[in-house]
Point group: C2
Chain length 102, copies 2
DNA sequence: ATATTATATTCACGATTTTCTATTTGTCAA
DNA sequence: TTGACAAATAGAAAATCGTGAATATAATAT
């Protein structure tokens, strides 16, 4: 589970934007077509496409093409991976320095 | 554990930047003085101050003033809160639509 | 083949973020 | 009180990000 700092930052960009958070909330109801997401968000189609790319790059969301349509859903594995990475980044395994200069 | 989308985005901004990720990794060794963090990062003092503000705003890091010095450490409670928020955002509790239009 | 529909890409622009220099504030020691 | 040091703030430059209009690509239907 070793990720570069750059990749880690990329992963959490998924949850750094209000619209992407809204998209995740919509996807919690299960897999949804892009066109349905579009109806529920006040953004244009290219903007949605842009956000879906960031979400898919983070691997927290996965896309599936079916004919003309793109279906998106939350990947429980991707979400678990993100949590693992977050834990690995915030677990404290030391006691620090007792003072600034000794 | 209900957070506005804006607040949620703010919280995860903490882990959306390479320098802040480096800072968290340093703090995993325990509480550290700002001046020590500064030695390990190739940024200026005001830039560090800026990043520490964002980290503290997310409540994943807490600061403590002692005389002239600021000591920072990871807040296990803050980190747990972030994980809870992330889970609440990515748990799937529906099965989606079977198709785009019915 | 042509038209239509769904999504992705390109480009440009404005807003936000990161970063720095300069300055200010706060704390301690002579 | 003055000087030295740590950290925060102000202001500005540069980079990144979010957005939409225009266009391209892909799939389906006629």
């Amino acid at each position: 589970m070793e990720l570069s700092d750059k990749k880690t930052a990329e992963m959490f960009k998924a949850v750094c934007d209000e619209n992407r958070i809204k998209i995740l909330k919509l996807l919690q109801g299960g897999e949804k077509c892009a066109c349905i997401l579009l109806d529920d968000l006040h953004i244009t189609q290219p903007t949605l496409s842009h956000h879906m790319k960031i979400l898919c790059d983070s691997e927290i969301v996965v896309g599936r093409k079916e004919g003309k349509w793109m279906y998106y859903s939350i990947s429980p594995e991707g979400a678990d991976r993100a949590i693992s990475v977050f834990r690995a980044l915030t677990d404290v395994h030391g006691q620090g320095d007792c003072c600034c200069k000794e």
